[in-house]
Symmetry: C2
Subunit: 171 residues, 2 copies
DNA sequence: CCGCGATAGTTGACGTGTCACCGATGCACC
DNA sequence: GGTGCATCGGTGACACGTCAACTATCGCGG
């Protein structure tokens, strides 16, 4: 969804008018699209080059790392990460094959499973953390003034609140 | 990359200190991560439900729609979209199979290919555009004040400029 | 204790994105 | 007019994410 494209596509398509985006609005939307595309690509790439972890790998590891006993019910982990169960299950399978996590049966609930951060997983996480923080700083945080940081956080939270309240949570 | 996770992982991992994220900085980073996750998911989903197009499908269609003669060299299209050639090639193959675009040989350059928006592709684009704009408004633009819109655009552009200048462009 | 809907988690199929590599053409330089 | 390298674009293998379907267990009402 780049720049003028939506507008011209729309202009060609319709004769009456829903509320099209104004100039500043288009600018914000374009900035959003491009920023997320480039920033995610860049941070993922540095993480992968540094230590062979993908972005989702790091997410899982860091969430497990802060869990009590370095273990967590699959479902609870999915909720915390805003991931679908399916996505998490697939990803855990891949990470398990690489020895970063393991699965255990849950004593309390016969249906349940517990994911455990292995020692190898913890080492990987420790290896990755500092570099990841630096990347986030270098490509995002340090580019902004403190006022911009706060403004951005507020905007993001507004959007997140709207989406979670409106039933937009992942399956 | 959620909330406290990076911090605690880091705190467990290292004894000396690179510059960790402060509270407001963590808040901004978390807001960014969650906003992009939820907003992209939501807008993609509405687009898919409305007219069976994925987000990348719409990107390609709208870029082609604003091209002269509704056609474009593959390479130029990739550059405009900030996509890798490989990604675009794969996606064009899939869209071609669905009849949304077609490929032609380029007269000027024997290596080249030209992508053309088919009539079916144009109809799909027209069908999708209004709903897409409304979704962008409903879940993003209309949630923000004009001041926030401008601030956001400025922040996004700062980040994009930094990343493109630093050689972070996709392959 | 049985039936039955709800919940936990997994799986398979498929669309998507990346990486490494390839074949072909263009182009500059000798 | 050949040599050599860059560029154009495509392909195959694989990682990732979604959807729909499935199994197994839970827990409630009878």
């Amino acid at each position: 969804m780049s720049d003028m494209s939506i507008r011209s596509a729309y202009a060609g398509a319709v004769t009456s008018s829903p509320r099209w985006l104004t100039g500043p609005e288009q600018r914000a939307w374009q900035a959003y699209r491009r920023m997320t595309l480039l920033l995610n690509a860049r941070i993922s790439r540095e993480l992968a080059d540094d230590c062979g972890l993908s972005d989702p790998d790091y997410d899982v590891l860091s969430n497990l790392g802060e869990s009590a006993e370095r273990r967590c019910r699959v479902n609870e982990l999915a909720d915390r990460m805003l991931w679908s169960r399916s996505r998490l299950s697939h990803h855990l399978t891949r990470m398990q094959q690489r020895g970063l996590v393991s699965r255990e049966h849950c004593a309390d609930d016969g249906r349940g499973a517990v994911v455990v951060l292995t020692d190898a997983g913890l080492r990987k996480l420790e290896e990755a953390a500092a570099g990841h923080v630096e990347a986030v700083r270098r490509h995002f945080i340090d580019l902004l003034t403190p006022e911009e940081i706060d403004a951005f956080a507020g905007i993001g939270e507004t959007v997140v609140t709207h989406l979670t309240d409106e039933g937009g949570a992942p399956a």
